[in-house]
Every structure is written in structure tokens, then in C-alpha cells.
């Protein structure tokens, strides 16, 4: 069935498609049902067709992008840029606005530079973590990649969406050092010191003379990022993998208050992950094997399952990066802190030193492991994540955790909750809702749960880190300070840079075409 961009007739859209074909080659303009289906969100929390595209275009480089933008501006065709299109659980490759044309940047997949001396790289959007790791290995590089839990996605796309990894460089947006961006009018800009002709310092320092603009092109629709610099970590002399079990549910507040100073003083020098009970009972099986009752898996049953695996109510895992002697000092401080604050905690440690074979706990190999849990709740499975950003203070984290767990149980969903100590001053909660995609009642209940939690968090002054396409407007509405001054500023920037609103309308709630209609524009 044909899908059209809003406001265009079939005839006008056909004319635009003919121009796209002439501009980039007919084989790179995808309009068949099968091709368009490949851009649907396989894990959508509702009808995939709500976010169907009308076509997809695959440019070979910036000149193709410029031609596409010129045509799209003329015909008012909305474009949805994707890099690898593997933003799984957040929309995958699908557009926020139904009928948008996908701008698939996969063919722009060059690794332009890996600078062993400076510890930096420059890549294009179509480079996946698989590709990047293979190239580092091929060069026998002394630099390490910080990858997310699944490696199919784009290095650029993950950093732009504020993705996270498990090394000291795990805040991927923080590793960005310079971008090349094409704006909606086809002009090409290099941010930071990349604006200096013939520079050697583009990736050296992110603060140029004047405003630092890299951040405004992350989680935004102000331009198409065509190249990105990123900082890479030199291989450490050693690593320690730390796994901590905390048996008592009542120790959550103490756990947060124990981890915070360790992270803030860089004793723990990479993100840590806390898992609650429900999150720990999943691996290697599906839900129907352990629970056939109504609603969420009861706390009693969950505790039985934890006991079978010898696990505590909470678990914490993280890796440390240092010389062997430095690791000893860090581990001693960690043991002291836990022994003083949570005597019931047990700590297990694995070690690695340069030259030894790498092991899976180091998370230095590419992986697709998270896909294995998608069918946990039923086949065909899907999941969507609720991700509030919370100060790592015991009281505050406990307040947020209690609300999320209570709401999940109230809506009949397992409270499958992880918390990532992404920086020294921020915990990102990831509360996963697993559902059977074909169960309309269940997906509708999950959407209601998500929106209930948005309301709950707004009430206590909490915002979100990232959302699925369906909740972009809900998430942006949480930023109400000053009569929604920040969302309004974003819309003003959008209107100035992209007056026809052709780049990813609705992404992060910015420049939605619905807003324009409401405002009579």
C-alpha cells in the first residue's frame, strides 16, 4: 500500500522520486513494499505502520546529500536521516512522522583516519561497531573501541543518540571531537577547530574560538552529520572485572551512596551497572519457563529464582582500567568501602594484563547478545525502555526506583530495571518493558505505563535520557521550566536552520509538522 509524505499528492511525490533517481541513481531509491518494510521498527510498541516510510534514499556521499536536500526543499519532502538504522528499542530505522523518506547513510562508510599518536579517529555514518573493531584489529591498533552492548549500530549514530559503553570512554557523546555537518540548505560546516583551514588540531580540542556546537547536533534534527571525530582509549596495562552481590533489598540506598564517592574520585573509572532482582533472573531462558501466573512475576517467585542462581537482590558489575599495581589500590578502596557500608556484600574479581588473551567479561569483543533477551516475554518479542536521569544520591535513587517498581507491578509488568552509573554525577535508569508485539492489549498497556511514568517523573523534576519514537512528544513536554523555554528555543533554531522543516520533523519533539499546523504556520 502506498504511503505518501504529508501534504504531497501521489503525482507530486512521483515527480520528486523521479528527480531523486536522476540525482543519485535509480538503484539507490527504494520504493517497493519489501524495501520499505525493511525500514519499519521490528520492536515497535504498537502498529509498525504508524511510523511507515514512503521511500528510502541511499546517497554515496556529501554531494549526493546536497542534491537530495535541494530536491526535498523544493517539493517539501520530509527526510529521516539514519546511519546504520539499528537504534533498537528506540525506533530502529523508522521515522517519527509517517510518510517521511528515509535518508539512509549506510553507503557513507569510510573510516577516514585512525591516529595512533593522538588517540582519535574520524569516521562516516555508515561505519558500524563491527566494521570499526575489525579495522582496529586489522591495524593491530593500540587503541580500544568503547562499544555499546550490541555492535550492529553505527559508531556515529550511537554517539549522537547519547549511547553508552563500558570503558572510561563510555559516555560516547563525550568522546565526540569535531563534526562535519550538512545543514538543510546544503551548506557544509565543520565544527570546532575543523573550521581552521589545514588544521592538525580538529580532534585535539573541542572548544573553538566561539560557541562549541557539537552538542546541538546530537539527539537533534538541525543537520546531517556526515563525519565525526572521536577520542579512543589507549589499551590499558590491566583490567579488573568486579562483580558485587548485595543480598538485602533494603541496602539499595547504601549501595548508591557507596558507589557515588568511588565513582566521583575515579576509583571506579568506568560506568557501573546495577541490576535489580527481576533483571538477574532472565538469562538463558524465557519467561514462560518460570512463571505462568497472571501479571508480573511475584517477588516471592523472583526471590526463589535468585536463590537458585545464588544471586542477591541487587548486583553491580563494572570494570577497572589501570596498571596491575593501580588496580590493587583501587580494589582495596572498593573492598574497604563495601565492608564498612554493606557488610553483607560479596565481591568477586577477575583480572587481565596486557598480553593475555581477552575474555568476554572485558566486553572488548563485538556482540549482539542483547537481541537474545527480546523474546523473554513472548514471541515475537519487543521491548521499550523508560530511561530517567537521576542524581546518584541514595534518597533520590530510592524515590525513583520505588515509583518505577510500583507502577510496573500495577500495570502487570515485570520491573526489569537496570541503573547505569554513566558518569560520576548521573545514574541512568533503564526500565525495560518486554511485550509480545502482536498482543495489542499488552502493547497498549505498556504505552499507558510509559506515559504514567512520564507524569510521575515530571512531578518530581526528572527528565529522560532517550525514548522510542512514540514518546518523543511526551519526553519533550517534561521540560516545562520557564513556560517550556528550552523546547521553544529548539524550535526557533530549527525554524532558522531548516525553514521548510524537511530534516527529521518531530525528532526529539523538535519541528513537528503537527505543531506547525496548530500554530497556523
Amino acid at each position: 500500500m502506498s504511503v505518501l509524505p504529508p501534504g504531497l499528492t501521489q503525482e507530486t511525490f512521483d515527480q520528486a522520486l523521479a528527480e531523486f533517481r536522476a540525482a543519485i541513481g535509480p538503484q539507490w531509491v527504494f520504493t517497493s513494499d519489501a524495501d520499505r518494510a525493511s525500514y519499519l521498527d521490528p520492536f515497535d510498541i504498537g502498529d509498525q505502520d504508524d511510523h511507515a516510510s514512503s521511500a528510502a534514499l541511499a546517497p554515496s556521499g556529501v554531494e549526493d546529500c546536497r542534491k537530495i536536500l535541494e530536491i526535498a526543499n523544493r517539493y517539501r519532502v520530509p527526510l529521516w536521516p539514519i546511519s546504520m538504522g539499528k537504534n533498537l528499542a528506540y525506533g530502529t530505522a523508522a521515522p517519527e512522522m509517517r510518510g517521511s523518506v528515509i535518508l539512509d547513510l549506510k553507503r557513507m562508510n569510510r573510516i577516514l583516519e585512525i591516529d595512533e599518536e593522538m588517540g582519535t579517529a574520524v569516521v562516516e555514518p555508515g561505519v558500524s561497531f563491527f566494521d570499526f573493531k575489525a579495522e582496529l584489529d586489522r591495524r593491530q591498533s593500540g587503541l580500544w573501541m568503547s562499544g555499546p552492548s550490541h555492535s550492529w549500530g553505527s559508531v556515529i549514530g550511537n554517539a549522537l543518540e547519547h549511547g553508552v559503553g563500558y570503558t572510561p570512554y563510555g559516555q560516547h557523546a563525550e568522546t565526540i571531537c569535531g563534526m562535519e555537518v550538512m545543514l538543510a540548505d546544503g551548506s557544509l560546516v565543520r565544527t570546532g577547530l575543523g573550521a581552521v583551514e589545514g588544521t592538525r588540531e580538529w580532534q585535539a580540542y573541542r572548544w573553538p574560538f566561539g560557541p562549541g556546537l557539537d552538542g546541538m547536533f546530537t539527539q537533534s534534527n538541525f543537520g546531517i552529520v556526515t563525519k565525526m571525530g572521536l577520542c579512543l582509549m589507549p589499551e590499558p596495562e590491566g583490567m579488573a572485572g568486579v562483580s558485587i552481590r548485595i543480598p538485602d533489598r533494603g541496602d539499595f540506598r547504601a549501595l548508591i551512596d557507596t558507589l557515588r564517592p568511588l565513582r566521583m574520585t575515579d576509583v571506579i573509572n568506568a560506568p557501573y551497572t546495577i541490576a535489580n532482582g527481576w533483571r538477574q533472573i532472565t538469562g538463558g531462558r524465557v519467561r514462560s519457563e518460570v512463571w505462568d501466573g497472571p501479571g508480573a512475576i511475584s517477588r516471592e517467585r523472583m526471590e526463589e529464582l535468585l536463590a537458585e542462581r545464588g544471586q542477591g537482590w541487587w548486583s553491580v558489575i563494572f570494570n577497572l582500567f589501570d596498571s596491575p599495581a593501580g588496580l590493587d589500590l583501587r580494589l582495596e578502596k572498593i573492598r574497604q568501602a563495601f565492608s564498612q557500608n554493606i557488610p553483607g556484600a560479596t565481591i568477586e574479581v577477575r583480572r587481565w594484563e596486557q598480553g593475555q588473551p581477552k575474555e568476554s567479561w572485558m566486553r572488548q569483543d563485538v556482540s549482539l547478545a542483547p537481541l537474545g533477551v527480546v523474546d523473554w516475554g513472548g514471541n515475537p518479542g519487543g521491548h521499550s525502555d523508560f530511561g530517567p536521569i537521576v542524581a546518584p544520591l541514595g534518597d533520590r535513587a530510592e524515590e525513583v526506583y520505588a515509583i518505577i517498581e510500583r507502577r510496573f507491578l500495577e500495570y502487570g509488568k515485570d520491573p526489569w530495571i537496570g541503573m547505569f552509573g554513566i558518569s560520576s554525577r548521573a545514574l541512568i535508569f533503564v526500565a525495560d518493558m518486554f511485550y509480545t508485539r502482536t498482543d495489542a492489549e499488552e502493547t497498549e498497556r505498556c504505552r499507558r505505563l510509559f506515559r504514567q511514568l512520564c507524569a510521575d517523573m515530571t512531578g518530581i523534576g526528572i527528565g529522560l535520557y532517550r525514548t522510542h519514537l512514540r514518546f518523543m512528544d511526551d519526553a519533550v513536554a517534561m521540560h516545562g521550566w520557564g513556560d517550556h523555554a528550552l523546547p521553544k528555543l529548539n524550535n526557533r533554531i530549527k525554524a532558522a536552520l531548516d525553514p521548510n522543516g524537511i530534516l527529521a520533523p518531530g525528532k526529539q519533539g523538535i519541528g513537528s509538522w503537527n505543531d506547525k499546523e496548530e500554530e497556523g504556520q
Binding site: 520492536f43 528510502a56 586489522r138 537481541l371 514471541n379
Partner: protein, 114 residues
């Protein structure tokens, strides 16, 4: 329980990596890639022995057929459909990632092996 077997794609890894060139590296050449190369670089992570796809398929396939290369019957049209639409927890592949020609060759190669 199936006996442990060595990874059948280790031998493919070297040629895949060696195909890259030093300076500005195109991570996937636009020249059509062979089915073996595609399977090793795009499918085997999940569909090799021990991959999560193989483990998921073990729940619903006859014994000994969970790994794609062990499948007795795998019609090319079915492979093409699943790759473009996804199935279960497996996300789909777009035509920019895997061209129609490459997909057809891959599907035929998989059928011929079985």
C-alpha cells in the same frame, strides 16, 4: 545437548579483514560481496553454533537444525522474506546494507549447502 564444535567461520575471518585497505578504509565495498563473506560478517554472529539466534531457533526447530547451515530445507524465497522483514527477535536488513543481488546469492548459497 549437541557436542561442542569449532567455529566454522574462523577461516573466513582473515580474508574479510584483509580486504580492507590502509588509509581511508571503505568498511564494506560496494562491489558485490560473496555469500560466504556476507554470512561470516553479517549472519554468523547470531547463527553460528552458540549464537543467540541458534539458541532461539533450538526452541522451535527439529533437533540438529537450529544452526542455519544445518537446516534441511531453507527455500531462498523464505530467506529473502525473513531478511527483509525480520522474524521473531531478528531485526531486518535494509537494501542499503545488503543489496537485492547479494541477498539472492546468499539465499541460493544457503539452499545449495543444505
Amino acid at each position: 545437548m549437541r557436542p561442542e564444535r569449532p567455529n566454522r567461520f574462523l577461516w573466513l575471518a582473515a580474508p574479510v579483514l584483509a580486504a580492507a585497505t590502509p588509509a581511508a578504509v571503505q568498511s564494506a565495498s560496494e562491489a558485490a560481496r560473496s555469500p560466504e563473506t556476507i554470512f561470516a560478517s553479517r549472519c554468523a554472529y547470531c547463527h553460528d553454533d552458540g549464537g543467540w539466534g541458534t539458541r532461539a531457533l533450538a526452541r522451535r526447530m527439529p533437533e540438529g537444525e537450529a544452526a542455519l547451515l544445518d537446516r534441511v530445507n531453507l527455500p531462498p524465497a523464505y530467506t529473502a522474506f525473513v531478511v527483509r522483514r525480520g522474524i521473531g527477535a531478528m531485526p531486518q536488513f535494509t537494501p542499503a546494507e545488503l543489496t537485492d543481488e547479494e541477498l539472492e546469492a546468499l539465499a541460493n548459497w544457503l539452499e545449495d549447502r543444505n
